[in-house]
């Protein structure tokens, strides 16, 4: 590798980003690989290639999907191409030989979390920095994670989640890992842009991106004492009102009732095909799930943020956001005994009402 000046490297990375984006749009894996390996051959720092080229392009892919410029197939293909390139890079760029054995870090996605790429990138960055890494991949059931940790006792666990809906699962994973005396650093879009949900759920640390997560893990985290598992109400006393439990447990009934209510009130729905009806039910399920998530965290911004984001997605597909309001009205009627829930639904309706014609912004992840 040749030494590069910063300006040269910036130029190389910018070129690689452009070429990778073109390749991914064309679903051309060869061209994608050429773009990345050319940058490495030019002496670009592998960590920068991972984070400033591949991760950057992956974010662009997500944005393109949200704005309806990419199909589901294009989005999945792009992700698959990125994963393959990362795997090929791992063969090409050997991990540095370190004299002293460094601490092992376990990198895993929360149960139910399918977006493995952010965790994968962190695992590779750690590997490039000379750490031993156990990468457990996407959607790791917490019992598997804990069994792995008993066997390996890493210095820390890096837990990744993109979807806020996984926060309750993340919470039980965090408390279970800490109970066996291993610190958890949380990362990914689910934990909020400022890490507020990582703090809320009692993670030992939070990192906004792979670089800072790697820095954090390099400095090392103190071990929690371990012992009895903290229960969810210990961290989140508001759960004692049972609203989260009741709404989440009856979510399917809520969706059925809301769908029936919509059909009664909106004549247009009588002409829906069975598939359209199911799509609507799925949308309602997402609304109820995010409602549950806001109840769990006692943070209305998760629910209103989701509605805002959904409205963006709908508008990108030329559906007016106001279609969401009748559903919220029916949910208010269904859940009239739950004060915290009613408050959230009020705020949700307010959010939709206040939406002007501003340009769409990509928000938190949603099932793709």
């Amino acid at each position: 590798m040749t030494d590069m000046t910063t300006a040269q490297e910036d130029g190389t990375l910018a070129r690689a980003r452009e070429e990778l984006w073109q390749a991914v749009c064309a679903r051309d894996e060869d061209a994608a690989a050429r773009a990345v390996f050319a940058a490495l051959d030019d002496g670009a720092d592998p960590e920068a290639v991972l984070l400033d080229v591949i991760a950057y392009t992956q974010r662009e892919v997500g944005r393109a999907w949200a704005e309806n410029r990419f199909s589901v197939a294009q989005e999945h293909s792009a992700t698959a191409i990125h994963e393959r390139i990362i795997a090929a890079m791992a063969h090409r760029v050997p991990a540095p030989a370190t004299a002293a054995p460094t601490a092992t870090v376990t990198v895993a996605c929360v149960d139910g979390e399918w977006h493995a790429l952010p965790a994968r990138l962190l695992a590779e960055v750690l590997r490039l920095r000379g750490h031993r890494v156990d990468f457990l991949g996407a959607q790791v059931p917490t019992p598997h994670l804990i069994a792995h940790l008993h066997a390996t006792v890493p210095a820390a666990v890096a837990l990744s989640s993109s979807l806020p809906l996984r926060l309750p699962a993340a919470h039980s994973a965090i408390t279970a890992v800490q109970a066996i005396g291993i610190p958890v650093v949380a990362g990914g879009a689910a934990f909020g842009v400022d890490g507020r949900y990582a703090r809320l759920l009692g993670a030992d640390a939070w990192a906004p991106d792979a670089r800072s997560a790697a820095d954090l893990l390099e400095r090392g985290l103190p071990r929690p004492a371990g012992g009895a598992v903290r229960q969810s109400v210990d961290d989140l006393p508001h759960l004692a009102d049972q609203e989260y439990t009741l709404v989440t447990r009856s979510r399917r009934q809520l969706v059925r009732n809301t769908l029936a209510g919509l059909e009664e009130r909106l004549p247009a729905m009588s002409s829906y095909s069975e598939a359209q009806r199911e799509r609507t039910a799925e949308d309602l399920m997402h609304i109820v799930e995010f409602l549950g998530c806001s109840l769990y965290t006692d943070d209305s911004s998760l629910f209103t943020g989701f509605l805002d984001w959904t409205a963006d997605i709908l508008e990108a597909r030329e559906v007016p956001a106001r279609v969401l309001d009748p559903a919220l009205v029916i949910l208010q009627e269904e859940l009239k005994d739950f004060p915290r829930t009613l408050g959230l639904l009020d705020q949700g309706r307010d959010t939709l009402r206040r939406r002007g014609t501003r340009p769409s912004v990509p928000g938190p992840g949603a099932p793709a």
């Binding site: 050429r34 197939a73 393959r84 012992g227």
Partner: protein
């Protein structure tokens, strides 16, 4: 506080009526004037303070703390703070002041030596109980033996001793050791002679502990001194860690010579702690042994990591019915052809039943198929042989499966697909059309003879053949609940996967099914995609066998 109002006649009257009782009161009482001179003492006070007589300064007859308390009481008058306390010889006394007439103070002295002792004992007991509760919960937190040893040493150095060494039973000729002196605990294994430390050999053999006073601290070998330990050893306790029938190890506790030696109560307490550490360590050891055995036995039952073979993409994904398990009754395998011109055999199947028992049978089928690979060109023959093997086995279970022989020639990928009673493979074309492979056949392991029809299918670049088990189509859930995922939804989902890489197809289908199921119960689920790449694969570009990352 009741104040006796100050006129002298009233005082005289009171004294005459209560005086005799006051003199004989079971508690010491002294009347002291504002200058600190004793006015009167009762019988108990005279017994307690032999020098106390009328006219003697309090400071000469009683401890300093009482004299000082008196000065404060005189100054503060009614506002005087609560009682004063202090030692007097072997006793602990508590003195309460009540104001008398003319600036005099009446002192009531209570001997609370026993309460003091009881409180100290209670505090110590509470601390020990608290420590034991904390110790138990921390010791049981990890099922990793090394971590468990570490925690035991940490706890011992925090509460019981200046340094601690945990000696585990030898594995081979070497003993695992954990050593700590308050700082970080160090692990090492060493060839040590337990008889170097008096009582250690006995402790490791499960004999009762040797009393601390029998152990000569200066005789400790070098290996038994943790790195951070400074100063000569003052006293040593060696206590066994009782385990499940056999000792889980022994704990050596060290105190520096500038610290008090271990007393008998502390030795007993160390034993109580060691019992907890031993139980936790034994449980961890048992778990580690069992999980190592399970991992070894399970290795061949886990679904393999698939990769790209001879220009064709293979990807698979598996989810057992129980989230706590990794194996079940579904299985898949890819057996690469010997060269690019040879067919690769892929197989995906489903054994009746769930869990470990079903998994064991999948293992048998997979190894039988492996052995029959030379005959893989003739699916009918292969199925017939497999059927014979299953019929003759002691298992009464049956299986369904799909065989797929795969050969890429130029840009066409040829497939020979045979279903033995299994859901039919689906093919998604470049334009998103989804077709069913026209194959049929009887399931395996029931009838003496099996028949099958093989379908020939060609894939062009970007097209995928999907093999799956009925755990996909029979998955129940959806936004309205209890609805089957079904063929139609699977076909719709697959239609969107035209042109996607194999890994992406598998992930997409698996994700949709998982979301459909939500937290419902479900069967084992296996999905495999055989995909003709849209472009030449990465491995062909740079000469690296990239494959799917093996995590």
């Amino acid at each position: 506080m009741t104040r006796v109002e100050g006129s002298s006649p009233l005082r005289q009257e009171l004294l005459s009526s209560v005086g005799a009782a006051w003199t004989r009161a079971p508690y010491a009482s002294l009347v002291v004037d504002a200058t600190g001179t004793l006015v009167e003492t009762n019988a108990q006070a005279a017994r307690l303070f032999p020098a106390a007589r009328t006219g003697v300064p309090l400071a000469e007859a009683a401890p300093d703390w009482l004299a000082e308390g008196h000065q404060r009481a005189v100054l503060d008058g009614e506002d005087a703070a609560g009682p004063v306390r202090g030692r007097h010889g072997q006793r602990t006394l508590e003195a309460h002041a009540t104001p008398g007439a003319d600036g005099e103070v009446v002192w009531w002295v209570v001997d609370d030596t026993h309460r003091e002792l009881a409180e100290a004992a209670l505090k110590e007991e509470q601390e020990r109980t608290g420590f034991l509760a904390q110790a138990s919960s921390r010791l049981l937190a990890s099922l990793n033996t090394e971590r468990c040893m570490e925690v035991a040493v940490e706890l011992a150095t925090q509460y019981l001793a200046d340094a601690a060494v945990l000696v585990a039973p030898a594995s081979g000729r070497r003993h695992p050791l954990s050593l700590g002196a308050g700082g970080e605990v160090v692990h090492r294994t060493a060839r040590i002679d337990p008889s170097d430390v008096p009582g250690l050999k006995e402790a490791l053999q499960g004999f009762p502990p040797v009393p601390s006073r029998w152990i000569d601290p200066s005789a400790l070998p070098e290996w038994a001194l943790p790195d951070g330990f400074t100063g000569p050893v003052g006293s040593v306790v060696v206590t066994p860690l009782p385990g499940h029938g056999v000792p889980a190890g022994a704990l050596i506790l060290l105190r520096r010579s500038d610290q008090a030696a271990f007393d008998a109560a502390e030795e007993i307490f160390a034993r109580v702690f060691a019992a907890r550490a031993g139980a936790a360590l034994s449980a961890a050891r048992l778990y580690m042994e069992q999980s190592a055995i399970t991992a070894t036995l399970m290795e061949d039952l886990l679904p393999p990591l698939l990769r790209h073979v001879h220009g064709v993409e293979f990807a698979g994904s598996y989810r057992a019915a129980q989230d706590t398990e990794r194996v079940g009754g579904d299985f898949y395998d890819v057996h690469p052809g010997a060269g690019p011109g040879e067919k690769t055999l892929a197989v995906l199947g489903d054994v009746c039943g769930k869990g470990l028992e079903a998994a064991v049978l999948t293992g048998k089928i997979r190894s039988t198929l492996q052995a029959l690979l030379p005959l893989a060109g003739d699916h009918q023959h292969l199925l017939r042989l497999l059927n014979g093997t299953l019929l003759n086995s002691r298992h009464t279970r049956f299986a369904t499966l799909v065989l797929a022989s795969v050969l890429r020639q130029e840009n066409t990928t040829h497939l020979w697909l045979t279903s033995a009673g299994h859901p039919l493979p689906l093919i998604v074309r470049q334009d998103g059309t989804v077709e069913e492979a026209q194959t049929s056949g009887t399931l395996i392991g029931v009838l003496p003879d099996v028949k099958s029809v093989t379908a020939e299918v060609d894939l062009r670049p970007g097209e995928t053949c999907l093999l799956y088990t009925d755990g996909v189509t029979e998955a129940r859930g959806g936004p309205l609940g209890e609805v089957m995922f079904g063929d139609a939804r699977l076909r719709d989902a697959l239609a969107e996967c035209a042109g996607m890489p194999a890994e992406a197809v598998v992930e997409r289908i698996h994700m949709l099914v998982a979301e459909w199921i939500g937290d419902n119960r479900h069967d084992d689920i296996a999905v495999m995609a055989v995909t003709a790449p849209r472009t030449t694969h990465l491995t062909a570009v740079d000469g690296h066998t990239a494959g799917r990352y093996t995590a």
